[in-house]
């Protein structure tokens, strides 16, 4: 049984067909990367899966139950959590408080939530910044905070939206290591990513979207050689030039 089963999802924004006939399965314990040029519909897909927008066609099953029509907080309670492309920390709260909020997804008691938050912060390497206000953090740390919050909700499926954007290679490697560890801990991961280094290092399978349609799916090695994929990223002329 697939953890996540997406079937013929479609979405229109006015006259624009943002997503068309997108289907795929995600098995428990996998890392699947969704790539594609800007505007391909990746974040729209995330928004649909997390309940922020409704699709016009198709179905989405998580653990065999439909996700559609559920509010985002219910989806998170079911075990599906996402991070945002442009991070959204609770700015006036401390790092610890940020994560405590997330920890309450599964816990009721403030003390337990605080404890869980401390553990997660240690895991991502922000323990020493626990009392800093979120608005004092630099971008790489804000990304870690975003990740920590998502983890504290104890998800089954973690959806990361361009978590490696805007950070330097060293930080990218740190993040890659962190995500690997999360995966080793048993989480299933769905990544939207532009940074190919991360995509190649982490993903077991890749899904490619272009203009809202799935144009390729498969093992990393195959996908990047797929001419349609190359064309989507680099344009037809490049393909022709390659021969």
């Amino acid at each position: 049984m697939s953890l996540l089963r997406i079937d013929k999802i479609g979405k229109n924004f006015g006259g624009l067909r943002a997503l068309d006939n997108v289907s795929f399965d995600l098995q428990s314990g996998e890392i699947l990367a969704v790539i594609g040029p800007n505007g391909a519909g990746k974040t729209t897909l995330f928004n649909i899966l997390t309940g922020f927008i409704k699709p016009d066609d198709g179905s989405a099953l998580f653990q065999n139950q439909s996700l559609l029509g559920l509010k985002p907080h219910r989806i998170c309670q079911r075990g599906l959590v996402r991070t945002f492309q442009i991070v959204k920390p609770f700015l006036e709260l401390s790092v610890l408080e940020n994560v405590i909020v997330a920890a309450f997804n599964r816990l009721r008691d403030p003390k337990e939530a605080a404890q869980k938050a401390e553990e997660v912060l240690s895991f991502v390497g922000l323990a020493d910044k626990r009392r800093a206000l979120a608005n004092e953090l630099n971008l790489p740390n804000r990304k870690r905070l975003e990740l920590a919050r998502a983890l504290a909700t104890e998800p089954t499926l973690l959806m990361l939206d361009e978590v490696m954007a805007g950070i330097n290679p060293t930080e990218t490697d740190n993040l890659i290591g962190l995500i690997r560890e999360i995966h080793r801990g048993g989480k299933t991961i769905l990544l939207i990513e532009h940074v190919m280094r991360g995509v190649m290092a982490l993903s077991q399978r890749i899904l490619v979207l272009n203009f809202g349609e799935k144009i390729a799916e498969g093992l990393p090695g195959e996908v990047i050689k797929n001419p349609m994929v190359v064309e989507a990223y680099l344009g037809e002329e490049y393909c022709v030039a390659q021969g």
């Binding site: 997390t50 998170c76 006036e92 709260l93 909020v101 309450f104 403030p110 919050r149």
Partner: protein, 320 residues
């Protein structure tokens, strides 16, 4: 933190003992300080902690005042019980306003306008209902006795208002440390992020407005039984709504002590300016000054006073 509680406990002890040395005038001042701090704190629960600004909180004050008073007049119900009924009624109204506002996704200025609308409609209704005394309002017969929530002299009112204030402080502090309170603050900071992390934002905003409305209404009953008179102008006006929001905004929204600090800082000078300039026989002058002071307060303390105080006093109270 323990040091802070100690100091606060000391201040409380002083306030409890204060009536021994205060004359009637000063007791009245303190009652006003406590009362407006209480109302401001109730408002704080909604606005300071979820970020949705209400400019119509006087509506709940009025509901509390009118409900308890009418129940006492018609059924002889003790205001202590009438207070609770008024509170429930206010909660109902608050939930309706909240539902309309939150369900339809009204934020910011749109939400403010809806709170103003309901408050004004409430005031206009009260202004015209015979049973509520129309524009003259209701006059309460003076029958002192504990059951009637009426007392001779200011002393009992002093302790009741102080009690209400302490009660509100406890409620807000407890809220701050709880799951609910933390969810409210998350909603204020970034509602979308909160929602994506499992927070049922609609439910919690409703909890905030319901609780805020309930507690505010209790204050309305208290006020009615202290002044023995209530009219739409006194207990349901926009002027009152503005007075309610002043102290927490200047003191610091979203903090436990903000409304209290704000009340101490504003109420006293406000009374003095009023008394002083009214003497001079120029109607309106003291209000003009009031307006300027408000504006200056915002210029100098754009986040309220508490953040400044916290920064200055933090090393004294908290050992890292």
């Amino acid at each position: 933190m323990k040091r802070l509680y100690l100091i606060l406990g000391l201040i409380l002890a002083v306030l409890l003992a204060l009536p021994g040395v205060l004359n009637n005038y000063w007791m009245e001042i303190f009652i006003l300080i406590f009362f407006y701090a209480y109302l401001g704190q109730c408002w704080n629960i909604l606005t300071g902690y979820t970020g949705n600004i209400s400019l119509g909180h006087a509506l709940y004050v009025g509901i509390g005042a009118y409900t308890a008073t009418r129940l006492a007049m018609v059924f002889g119900l003790s205001p202590w019980l009438g207070m609770l009924v008024g509170g429930l009624f206010a909660t109902g109204v608050g939930l309706v306003i909240g539902f309309l506002g939150f369900r339809f996704g009204l934020r910011g200025v749109y939400f403010v306008l809806i709170t103003i609308s309901f408050a004004e409609i409430g005031r206009l209704i009260a202004l015209h209902l015979e049973s509520l005394g129309s524009f003259m309002g209701l006059f309460i017969d003076f029958n002192p006795g504990f059951l009637n929530m009426q007392f001779r002299g200011n002393l009992p009112y002093y302790y009741i208002s102080l009690g209400l204030l302490v009660f509100s402080l406890i409620v807000v502090r407890t809220l701050e440390l709880s799951k609910t309170g933390r969810y409210l603050v998350a909603i204020r900071e970034d509602e979308e992020a909160a929602e994506s992390l499992g927070v049922n934002t609609l439910k919690y905003k409703m909890v905030a407005i319901g609780l805020s409305a309930f507690m505010t209404a209790l204050g309305g009953t208290f006020d009615a039984n202290r002044i023995f008179h209530l009219s739409p102008d006194r207990v349901m006006s926009m002027g009152l709504s503005i007075e309610i929001i002043l102290r927490p905004i200047i003191g610091g929204m979203g903090t436990v002590l903000g409304p209290v600090v704000g009340s101490f800082l504003i109420t006293l000078p406000a009374e003095w300016t009023r008394a002083f300039f009214s003497e001079m026989g120029r109607p309106g002058l003291h209000m003009v000054i009031y307006g300027f002071v408000l504006i200056l307060a915002v210029f100098f303390f754009p986040r309220g006073i508490m953040p400044l105080l916290t920064r200055k006093l933090r090393p004294f109270f908290i050992k890292e």
